[in-house]
Amino acid sequence: MPQIITEQNLRNLIDLLVKEAKLVVGPKLSGSVVLYEPLAAGSDLTLDALPRRSSKELFFPICEDILSYKRENGAMKVTDVDRSKFPETVLIGAPPCDAGSPAILDAVMSWDYNDEFYLERRRKSTIVGIACTKGDDACFCRAVGLAPDAEGGSDLFLTPLKDGSYACKAVTDKGQALVAAHQNLFADGAGTEPVPFVDQAVEKLDLVKIKKWLEEHFEDPLWEKIADICVGCGACAFICPACHCFDINDEGSTDDGVRRKHWDACGFAKFTNHASGHNPRDVQNKRYRNRIMHKFKYYDDKFGKTLCTGCGRCIRACPVGIDIAEILETINGKED
């Protein structure tokens, strides 16, 4: 039976979840930018703009302690982080390009090593995705196999309707449980017409063909042509829903400190710099090549998935206007 929820009841749902002591995270205005932040009440939720950073930070925080150490009576005492204290979390209002990213990242986070920090947060989270009716000329989710109404990754999926309410679909058991526990906020029925989606400038890419070209063109003049202008910051990687490289630093003193895991980016000159001083990716265009290779070849090789959701954040944020959709179109159009 199809169900709908009014906007007011969606906000009431957030209020209830907060009362249940769950961590509720959703798009919220923070200063001049919209970010995924803890919502104190339903009124905090803002669905007007794609948050500047993706929702990956809910599972893979920008920075987290992974252990602490302290010298006590001559012996070093190491304390692990108690992951059982991670809160039950509900992510509300993530469009498919964000809601879909954990479903991509689960593969690498549970591959040869189980990243228990990530996985524990995943186990304890429910994702309420929402169909995207905004979009601009940087969006290209359709071209990478998603769509403004793709349910993948969401536990409960909302579709904005023309009368301001939302059609609801429980995609997983977790989503079903969320609805069942708050049944009075949902009403039976199909509701009015959905709000139409926005057309995308780059809608079709042959990802198989692109991968094949990448396999055969590790060395190619294209890399210099597109990436010599790259200035080597980490903006693209940090705001990306799929980039997941991290660095580990011990911070504090030799007697008392914390081991921290935080985001890293292949654009940085220090990335893969060996202790000897040698760097196999010695110039910027090789670092940028790694970004494309990782997303459209290596990750597919290992996990059968594309490491990009087409959210367009890197296109909007690149200080020098590097446009990944344009690059993919260029490769897609190549004859050899």
Binding site: S30, G31, S32, V33, L35, R52, R53, I62, C63, D137, A138, A201, D228, I229, V231, G232, C233, G234, A235, A237, F238, I239, D247, N249, E251, R260, H262, W263, A265, F268, K270, V283, Q284, I315, A317, P319, V320, G321, I322, D323, A325, E326, E329
Partner: protein, 314 residues
Amino acid sequence: MNAKASKTHVTCIEPAYYEAITEAIRKEAVQILKDETVVGVVGYLPGRRKGTASPALVTTAEEAGKLIFSPACVNNLSVYLTKAKKGVLKKGKVGIVAKGCDMRALAGLITESQLQREELFIIGVVCPGVYGFGAERTGTLTEANIARKCRECSVHLPDGADVAAGTHTELADLTPEEAEEMARIEAMPQAERWAFWKEHFSRCIRCMACRQVCPFCYCEQCLCDKNRPQAVESSPRPAGNMAWHLVRAMHLAGRCGGCAECERVCPMDIPLNLLNRRMAKELKELYDFEAGLNPVEKGPLNQYKEDDDQSFIK
């Protein structure tokens, strides 16, 4: 060209103004590549998306014929001439498209012996302004979409360029938003001001875009990348973020030319140019010095004079 002869104040800058500059840039760039005055030209090419542009390093007359200038040409291209980008351009004299604000960075880099004037062919742009971040890219520049730094521009003319493209035109009646914001922050009690910056820096993700686009962040070993031992916490946390931005502001004092690229590229909208502008004010008051107006032998913080003001030592 006779850019100084007259100045026009208008309410909007039409695409035709930028198209005329585009034509002039193409003509010069093609010429200096053809006659081998330069090995390459750093300019702008149009982006895929409407109303966007990207820096470009062109080496053939054919490519130079596609260069553009539009309100989307926001980048300070002088960053490509610094040693942070070494190896990207061939050795030899280089042509560069420069707005007045970019010229200040070039003058500063010459002052710091990073560039030699005779190694540059500067195609100056008489710039009426560029788009602000996230502003509507309509092709026409108005009060509504002009960048904050351009509202108070004092360097519309690219003084010292080899050639200049454009006629002096400015938008009329622009409110000095950044100066007003500065005044607002300066008037805050210290605790409130501290809270203002703490809040902004708490959003910093340490993507280093501010450093990477800065013409003056050309250190081969940035203090903030040091990890043996660590000088500034490299993890994106409030303490390290604060340290990073304050270290950078101090290091740019007397050097920053005010292009505000750091602020433009910040994905978290941290108003970094306010810090640089505050330091510039300090330099003006203490040493009557403005960075990057002209190349000088040494900046005030690179030298010691017996009659320097010592009153700050307590």
